[in-house]
């Protein structure tokens, strides 16, 4: 196994496991950032330069900050001494293990194990941009619309309730 890949995989997995298992929510968010950064490095290793940096820009720069803000705004929700797992956690864990097992078996038994390594593609940002403006112009417009709608929606949902039922 490639040592760089091994290190990044370990970092990402450790970050992910810590992000869903730690008690302190802010620590969870920070570990999530580690996982995101590890994934971005993996993208770079896979020659997807632009996507890797976009991952850092969006996930580390925006999503992680959003999560941190949400954690601080819902401050009373810190568990304290309560259990951190939900009441039906055994079932959830069982489902997760089943899914992981199924995916693992599927990957292990598929022919991708013998897939040839193709020469490294070097997509330039210019090519990506041209694709976005020609083949993918409709999805691009749709995603613009979606982001606008999501922004307005998020603002309206999170806006202060004037006379909410208490």
């Amino acid at each position: 196994m490639d040592p760089v890949f091994a290190f990044l995989a370990l970092l990402t997995t450790a970050g992910a496991v810590a992000a869903v298992s730690l008690r302190n929510l802010v620590h969870c968010a920070l570990c999530l950032v580690v996982a995101f950064a590890g994934l971005a490095a993996l993208y770079l290793q896979l020659n997807a330069q632009f996507i890797g940096f976009a991952q850092i820009l969006v996930y580390v720069g925006a999503v992680a900050i959003l999560i941190v803000f949400a954690i601080l705004l819902t401050r009373g929700s810190e568990p304290g001494n309560q259990p951190i797992l939900s009441s039906s956690w055994q079932a959830g864990l069982g489902v997760a293990v089943l899914v992981l097992g199924a995916l693992g078996v599927a990957v292990a038994s598929s022919f991708v194990r013998y897939y040839p390594v193709s020469p490294a593609p070097q997509p330039t940002v210019r090519e990506l941009g041209e694709q976005l403006m020609t083949n993918y112009v409709l999805p691009l417009e749709v995603i613009g619309l979606l982001l606008t709608a999501a922004m307005i929606g998020a603002v309206i949902i999170a806006m202060h309730e004037k006379q909410g039922p208490r």
Partner: protein, 103 residues
């Protein structure tokens, strides 16, 4: 060069961790973190398949991931806004207590 299936294993592992987090934790924000992890696992799959495809110049996987990142950002914003709105209402982000629709 790392073979494809190792990336797929890593991605499956991340997906499993994310799913476990989303299904077992009580806090709504951690559930959202789990969902983000699952999305990222899928993105890793796309990138890996693109890298090992026969026609990487088409950049289909990259495009998909680009859109997926955009959607994930929107999803995180709306999801967190929902959590904040619910928190304001119930004074908790604990999923077990959102049970007013329970029969």
């Amino acid at each position: 060069m790392t073979p494809l299936h190792q990336y797929l294993f890593l991605s499956a592992l991340l997906f499993g961790v994310g799913l476990a987090g989303a299904l077992t934790r009580r806090n709504a924000i951690i559930v959202l973190i789990g969902i983000e992890l699952m999305l990222n696992a899928a993105n890793l799959n796309f990138i890996a398949f693109w890298r090992f495809s026969r026609h990487p110049e088409l950049a289909t996987g990259l495009m998909f991931v680009l859109f997926s990142i955009g959607i994930a950002a929107a999803e995180a914003a709306v999801g967190l806004a929902l959590i904040i709105a619910i928190y304001r209402h119930y004074r908790t982000a604990n999923l077990d207590q959102f049970d007013s629709m329970k029969g």
